[in-house]
Symmetry: C2
């Protein structure tokens, strides 16, 4: 029983084969399909849980399990360490995922989930924005210009024809470097400019907030000058007390959470009463025609990060890994020929090693004949 | 940033270097130390959770997180699929574990946890039995003769000088094969015999129950003929409604759970009122002298399986892996030099590949000079 272990280099080879744009398109399409075809009802997604701590550094380590009934189960572990970039040159979010066969409990695969998490977070905003934003949205505003801003732009540029992107970050260096980071995307003639927070907020047809705002530190902009048809993808709110949007914006918007239960605990939905929340992303996509009139009104996608999105992204990644023969096949589980002998694998592995050796020493004889 | 991936073969090499007996001794000692030195207070162990299902087969997939404050975090995923042995020749319990650095969220290691789970489950019974059983225990009784019975015998034989082991399983074939499976252990002159359930139960000084009894199917033996000083390690009860012991035995015994909260939900402790439960394993070991008089009376160790035991076992495994240089070092996380660029690793990996290639083509020139 082998486990497919994907290295970062394997992922690069998959991206080179598929293309970054196609991969993003596939995740957007995959997530749309799961929501639309009632596929989501086949999944079990418990609310995520985690360890939060202040020592050795401010951090959060969360587990996000998801299981497809009769299919596979994905366990994503995601670390959120906001000091990573400054102190260690590492991304704030580092993540890995295991995929299990639910028939046997066998570990089928292990892979990075840092890249898939960034991709699927972008994809989720694209899925929601396709229904909620004005179709001819021309200006994308980004508040917070870190990692997630890159994939927000990437995903949204796959489904909208923007003229301009306006970027603001509390750290001017991060604002400035955004253009370089966006350079690897095939954005054609979209102009990317830094701007004041006020200009970003008032110019945007679609606004994405993806900040590391502190708990209790929100909102990250004031409710002033927003376009009447503004659609906001609120990406940064993912912890009790951590919110990005002014409450007044939420109160006059249709607020669509990715995962209702979690959004009420960790998302923008913390700020409003239950009757102001909904539809969920699944209901929005399933009944998208019912929401056609919402494009001209303010809407919010409350994106806390949904394990089902991870499942979609990881499935696509492993499908390509299998197709392309990427990844190491490693026997990880210490399983014996006799399933009731916990130590049998020790002598079995030794025996196989011996046979291999004797086969290797026989070879030269054959050559010399 | 590399991740150490241990294969089954790497684990065999570690076992060959350390010795199976020494490894078991180290886990017993490690667990004892953690309990005794208040080390346990430095750990966070949420109650485990999981997916339970009847399709595609009867199964349970559980996650068992544990974190040492200021240290590492271990996430064990454990599958319980009772049809595995008969249908697929696989063990009922298959398990894998990831170890994370809590400073960054980096995945430090991945390894099988099937073998470590079996070892630590044995070790836990040894730790409890050393305090609760009669010191000159001569006869070990095993009810249920599957995988876990092997490690119960192994662990207990490291701390007791048994004369005889009596074995019973509902499946006579499993009873019969037990002797062969125990043959790989260094048991010296201990006689291992199959016996009737009644004889196993009435002869034992220490009794271990490790069955796959169905939910609601307990008890697995009747409360009749037990020795007055019986110590029972109840290993099989690990799910709501799944218990192995007669309630009357629990009611007249001191019942010591590995993890109080979990044992009341999933263990033998389900059957009794809270005031009859305790001390916990940690309190038992920390204040072992206070319980000296309990050796002559009936006692039960309610072993539901504790993530802290996993942490101890995985730490020992990875310590040896590092010492011996075992395991593959794989760059799994797709991390860019610029922590704010989610796609930067793609061009960086390409660049490194190019440099490698050009270095490889330069080599022959040097040789030909």
């Amino acid at each position: 029983m082998r486990t497919i272990v994907l290295s970062a280099e394997d992922i690069v080879k998959i991206v080179e084969h598929v293309g970054l744009d196609n991969l993003m398109d596939e995740v957007i399409q995959g997530l749309t399909n799961v929501c639309r075809d009632s596929e989501s009802e086949r999944y079990r997604v418990p609310i995520r849980d985690g360890f939060e701590y202040q020592s050795p550094t401010e951090g959060l380590l969360e587990w996000m399990p998801v299981m497809k009934n009769g299919g596979s189960a994905t366990f994503k572990l995601v670390g959120y360490h906001p000091n990573n970039p400054r102190s260690l040159g590492l991304p704030t979010i580092l993540s890995s995922a295991m995929v299990f066969d639910t028939e046997t409990g066998h570990l089928m695969g292990l892979a990075d989930a840092t890249f898939p998490t960034a991709v699927r977070t972008g994809a989720a905003s694209a899925v929601a924005s396709q229904v909620l934003a004005v179709e001819n949205a021309a200006i994308l505003g980004l508040v917070g210009a870190g990692t997630q801003a890159v994939t927000q732009l990437h995903a949204l540029s796959r489904v909208f024809a923007f003229d301009r992107v306006l970027v603001y970050d509390v750290d001017p260096e991060v604002s400035r470097s955004f253009q370089d980071r966006a350079a690897s995307l095939n954005l054609g003639n979209i102009a990317i400019n830094t701007a004041s927070l006020k200009d970003v907020v008032s110019s945007a047809d679609i606004l994405c907030t993806a900040t590391s705002v502190a708990i209790g530190g929100g909102p990250v902009f004031n409710d002033s000058g927003l376009k009447p048809w503004i659609h906001i993808n609120a990406v940064g709110s993912d912890f009790p007390g951590k919110t990005e949007l002014p409450r007044s914006v939420l109160e006059r918007s249709m607020v669509c959470p990715d995962f209702m239960e979690q959004a009420r605990k960790e998302g923008e939905c913390q700020q409003i009463t239950p009757e102001l929340i909904g539809p969920s992303l699944v209901d929005l996509i399933k009944h998208s025609r019912d929401y056609a009139d919402r494009r001209s009104k303010p809407t919010v996608f409350d994106s806390t990060g949904w394990a089902l999105e991870d499942h979609v992204a990881m499935e696509i990644l492993f499908r390509y890994a299998k197709e392309l023969g990427q990844g190491s096949r490693i026997t990880i589980e210490s399983v014996s020929d006799d399933p009731r002998n916990p130590y049998g694998f020790i002598s079995e592995v030794r025996e196989k090693r011996k046979q291999k050796k004797s086969a290797a020493t026989r070879k030269p004889e054959l050559v010399s004949q």
